[in-house]
Symmetry: C2
Subunit: 178 residues, 2 copies
Amino acid sequence: MTPQENGKGLVQIFTGNGKGKTTAALGTVLRATGHSLKVFIVFFMKGDYAYGEYSALAKLPNVETASFGFRKFTDPSNIKPEEKEQAKAALETARKAVLSGNYNLVVLDEVNVALSYNLIELDDVIRLIKEKPSHVELILTGRYANSRLIDMADLVTEMVKVKHPFDKGIKARKGIEY
Amino acid sequence: MTPQENGKGLVQIFTGNGKGKTTAALGTVLRATGHSLKVFIVFFMKGDYAYGEYSALAKLPNVETASFGFRKFTDPSNIKPEEKEQAKAALETARKAVLSGNYNLVVLDEVNVALSYNLIELDDVIRLIKEKPSHVELILTGRYANSRLIDMADLVTEMVKVKHPFDKGIKARKGIEY
């Protein structure tokens, strides 16, 4: 099946303070590869941190990834120029992937956070959504989703934290959270 | 890494009326396989419907699945005996997988719904959680999570529907929703 043959692609947003935003995007990617769809994932703010997802994603067919940003985001009130540069490069990479028409599904992981920290321009993300080929599905993840993007999206889910073990001092565990 | 070497396993619940519950569980599975963890997934209410996840999961290393129930759940007010039998068999399969100690992560997909429809007994699920080996991570998905399970869980996320395309009459799309 060519990317063009899978019908209209929607715009999905996973936001909120709960667990499962990136994770749900990864689950969608896994499902899509089961149908031989072509996927491109842009990680906006993860750097080269050896997340479990990288090695697992590398084993999936038809999935390409590109990672930008830094493992530890420093201070939102004192953004470093290289943090902006990385986020802009991530958006440009996403834009090329989307407009190429070669992918059924493009994930912009943590783009909402990059936007909320003003690392990238809202208008550029809006333009990307408007200009995307109709068959391309977009998933935007991250807390603080912009209300204008929520208005434009077809499917918006808020992950709400009911209870989280980090609150009890339990640290993130390799293989489960990252 | 043996299952026992990955530290304490928690109990996670993904519930709520929004998209991303099963999907986040699948994403967690994908991430876990990237770290060579061993996974068992029990689908409580999916039957043999050719979900994209099956073919994708089959390609992942260290993942076993077992599927029960029926594609279309009939009428919650008029439960069929075979629906109860399937749910009980699913729980028994999950119990064996958990107690075997052979898996790092066991997913009970849609167990919350099976419970809310009284297909299985709450006490049996509570007993499974209490008796699980400490290294085993459990994920329970589905709407209507029971409050006693929420009390017992370490990590609970509610997926809240903010906007869903089915509301606009857009149907589920192969490769994306299933």
